[in-house]
Amino acid sequence: MSYDIMLLLVVAIPVLFSALIPLFGKVSVFIRNFFALVLMLIPFLLLIIIFQAVQAGIPVDFVYEFPILEINFILQADIFSVFVAMASVLVSIVVLIYSFEYIKSYDNQNEYFFIVLLFVGSMMGIVFSANLIFIYFFWEMTALASWRLIGYFREKEYVRRANKTFIMTAAGALCMLIGFLMIAEQAGSFDLDVISAANLQGSAVNLAIILIILGIFSKSATFPLHSWLADAGIAPSPVTALLHAAVLVKIGVYVYARLFNFTIVPSEEIRIVLFSIVSVSAFLSGAVAFVEKDIKRVIAFSTISQIAFIFLGFISGGKFAFVGAMLFILMHGLAKAGLFLSAGIIEHKIHTKQLDMMGGLFRYMPITAFAFAGCALSVMGIPPFAGFFSKFLVIFGTVYDQNIIAALIFIICAGLTVLYTVRLFWKVFLGSQKKYPNIEKENWNSPMVLSVVSLAFLSLILTFSFGYLFYIANLAAQTIKGQGF
């Protein structure tokens, strides 16, 4: 099998075969779960093979040219895209295993696994597409999937919030499509290669970039288009983990990097505006996370804040900043998924999300508490957890690129992160002891606990392979446009 076909399969297997999950679900729960896991594992294995090919410098791309129109279906792999794809599939696998137990007691399970697989498949589509129309195509498919996932529980309020998410992200995406059309008009094609070669500049391009960024910010929940993300917390915890850590918000960040680090270089004015937006986003959401009273909303605002760090790295765009941001995607994915999944365990145990009702949970769930602490330390950026290196590199890179003020603001934001995360841990696990009627003892071999522990463990262990990760990210950074390393 050639690498090109493998690349196609990475996208096609989860997207097309996910539709079979409801059928298997009718037969047996075990077969369905097994099938879902296989659908997730095959792309991961294929990605490993593709990764080696890409690293060896073999070009991997699948091209299907459309008749008549300029919209060609092109999938292209480079180190950056394969890295991001692997990071999200890895987190998704853990989330999937966690869901097997978490979702057990709810309705519409078949639909849940179908949509999760469709979601991850569309993410793969975005990551590898090298044509603007298909980026939009898969982008809207993720919006569709997240609509059904957030509205998983069918109560009125839940459906309303899911609808809000759908409308906000779809409106953003339409702005983005208008931007794409403007770009395509200037460059004469929707293919990224052609656009990259066209070296676009001028006021029309600037307007297009602003429209595209509107779409990206609405998806990756950056201030002022962030309001849906905290509302989406009503979804089941594995879904929020998927949305926040593995797939949805990362899509925005990835497409930003793909378009504006590799394809079009935004002008200096736009970058200044972007710096200020992400700074405000990081600072405000950090501050809000400090006062929120709902555990999932605290973590959600923390996501908004951390996503701004990734944006900072890509906007700054220099070698170190880029490397840092790229690694941040992986580290944040692992740690944030761990936090959400722990929150899910807590919610399952004591049936509330309010911080006021928690306290002293360490006694009842020490394993979860340790795992939570590990992930929290990684999010804060405390050595030796892997989150430290990526956060350090982002801020160091920003300074290296002479964006001193932005770096200063983000150092303050990093301080805020420490504050609200410590507060969260204190309120949940330590603090004054509350009464919990009939709480069950936590179980070592529950898939839920194991997934959380493995995420925390990965956050720690990746520190030791940091040299290798840095080398990989450095290879990716060398292909950035307009930097000339």
């Binding site: 008749p67 008549i68 809207e140 569709l144 109560e155 609808n163 779809a170 499509l177 208008i178």
Partner: protein, 468 residues
């Protein structure tokens, strides 16, 4: 050979009404259903096009790619309408028999309309279809449906008068009603005020027939008050064939200059935006669908307004998709009505758990309407936007895109109120709709999904039809 598609239904109507055999409505329904299936497959036969021109009583009949798409949509929608008719519990069996006859007549009319190449014949066939629709709307003789039918009759006769006078003027100027002769005349005298008046009359007449804003007054009533199978048939294909398809044919005749293009663009965008806003607050499900239908027709007209072959192509593709997903939504409306006995959205809630097929297919239909990938509606909307953008009408492309948000909004509201939410206690015993209705939903739903997923193949085929 393709004339069979006009002659067979006429012959079937005769056969059913000769009273040679005792025919009950079940056999009639079966015959009509089989005919629509026959049409669906017959048009795929390889020598379908090869018969070329037919000169019958000096009317020119011809089949090209556009006709082909129309024939396919006609077959699909009439099949769905027949399915709904069979399952309908509110229509008496005697009326079902009449219904089948009327549908067959309308089929003959529509199949004829897509073949003719002569403006007077266009007028004749439009009137055949209109005459059957008046009866179809008023079939169950409730006060509302009679009112709707009367309204349609009155407004439609205005259109008739306008079109007939346009035909008269054009005949006077060209000495013939054949497309080619009229087109030649347009090249010479296109700027003559009388000819301009004739063009305006013809276009406005068609806009009335197609329900384009602001000539849509009859449409919401006609769609929502008519019996369920009629609304499937009417919304799915009848108004699209009489009003919208004929607009494409005028392309071939009229000198398509910028002022005419502007008319299409302005009225198209007017329909899109106003009807979409109008749909948001509707409480009657079928009325909401009617407004949505006006809005989607706006997209088709807008696409024709781009004035390029890609625009026509996109418009026809959207017409096909629209007739599939809109009839799917009307089929689902009838499924709901047959179980809940109402069309009022506020009376329904949480039906997804009781009617899973209806719920799922309606989600897919409305996502396709709103242009969400990977469904068929996404591609046709994308093509429309591309056609508008690259023909220099960027502001209209932007408008068409942003209006999708409204489409998404009213359908999300609909889905939330009808299918999600808490199941009301009185609905606890509700069952899924009858088999033929489910069959129609699943069939239409499969077409929408497959068209979306295998778009490259469809595109290849359409490129062949349009001989790009």
């Amino acid at each position: 050979m393709f004339l069979l598609l006009v002659l067979i239904p006429l012959f079937l109507v005769l056969l059913l009404n000769l009273n040679l055999y005792k025919v009950n409505y079940k056999i009639a329904v079966l015959i009509a259903g089989l005919f629509s299936l026959f049409q669906m497959f017959f048009i795929f036969s390889p020598n379908f096009f090869s018969t070329g021109l037919v000169d019958l009583l000096s009317l020119r009949f011809e089949c090209d790619g556009i006709s082909w798409i129309m024939l396919f949509s006609i077959a699909i929608v009439s099949f769905a309408a027949i399915c709904v008719l069979y399952a309908s519990e509110t229509i008496a069996s005697g009326k079902k028999f009449h219904f089948v006859n009327l549908v067959l007549l309308a089929l003959a009319g529509m199949n004829g309309l897509v073949f003719v190449r002569d403006i007077f014949s266009i007028y004749v066939f439009i009137e055949i279809i209109a005459a059957t629709s008046y009866v179809l709307i008023a079939l169950d003789k409730t006060k509302k449906s009679l009112e709707a039918s009367f309204k349609y009759l009155v407004i439609s006769s205005v259109a008739t008068v306008m079109m007939l006078s346009a035909v008269a003027i054009l005949f006077m100027a060209a000495g013939s009603t054949d497309f080619i002769k009229v087109a030649q005349m347009y090249k010479e005298y296109g700027a003559n005020p009388l000819i301009v008046v004739a063009s305006v009359f013809f276009i406005v007449g068609l806009f009335i027939k197609g329900g384009v804003m602001p000539f849509h007054g009859w449409l919401p009533d006609a769609y929502s008050a008519s019996p369920n199978p009629t609304s499937v048939f009417l919304a799915g294909i009848v108004t699209k064939t009489t009003g919208i398809y004929t607009l494409v044919r005028l392309y071939a005749i009229f000198d398509f200059n910028y002022s005419m293009q502007l008319v299409f663009l302005v009225f198209g965008s007017l329909s899109i935006v106003i009807a979409a806003i109008g749909a948001i607050n509707q409480d009657n499900f079928k009325r909401m669908l009617a407004y949505s239908s006006i809005s989607q027709v706006g997209y088709i007209v807008l696409a024709f307004g781009s004035g390029t072959i890609l625009g026509v192509f996109a418009g026809m593709f959207h017409l096909f998709n629209h007739s599939v997903f809109k009839s799917l939504l009307f089929v689902n409306a009838s499924a709901l009505e047959s179980r809940v006995n109402t069309n009022q959205i506020h009376n329904m809630s949480g039906l997804a758990s009781r009617m899973p097929v209806t719920s799922t297919t309606s989600v897919i239909a409305f996502l396709s309407t709103a242009g969400i990938p990977p469904l068929a509606g996404f591609w046709s909307k994308l093509l429309i936007v591309l056609a508008l953008w690259f023909s220099g009408n960027k502001e209209f492309a932007v408008l068409a895109l942003l209006a999708s948000i409204f489409t998404l909004t009213y359908f999300l509201i609909m889905q939330k109120k009808i299918f999600f939410g808490q199941l009301k206690e009185k609905f606890n015993t509700i069952k899924e709709a009858r088999f033929t209705i489910r069959l129609a939903s699943l069939f239409l739903c499969a077409i929408t999904i497959l068209t979306g997923l295998f778009f490259p193949i469809i595109l290849n085929f359409m490129a062949f039809l349009f001989s790009f």
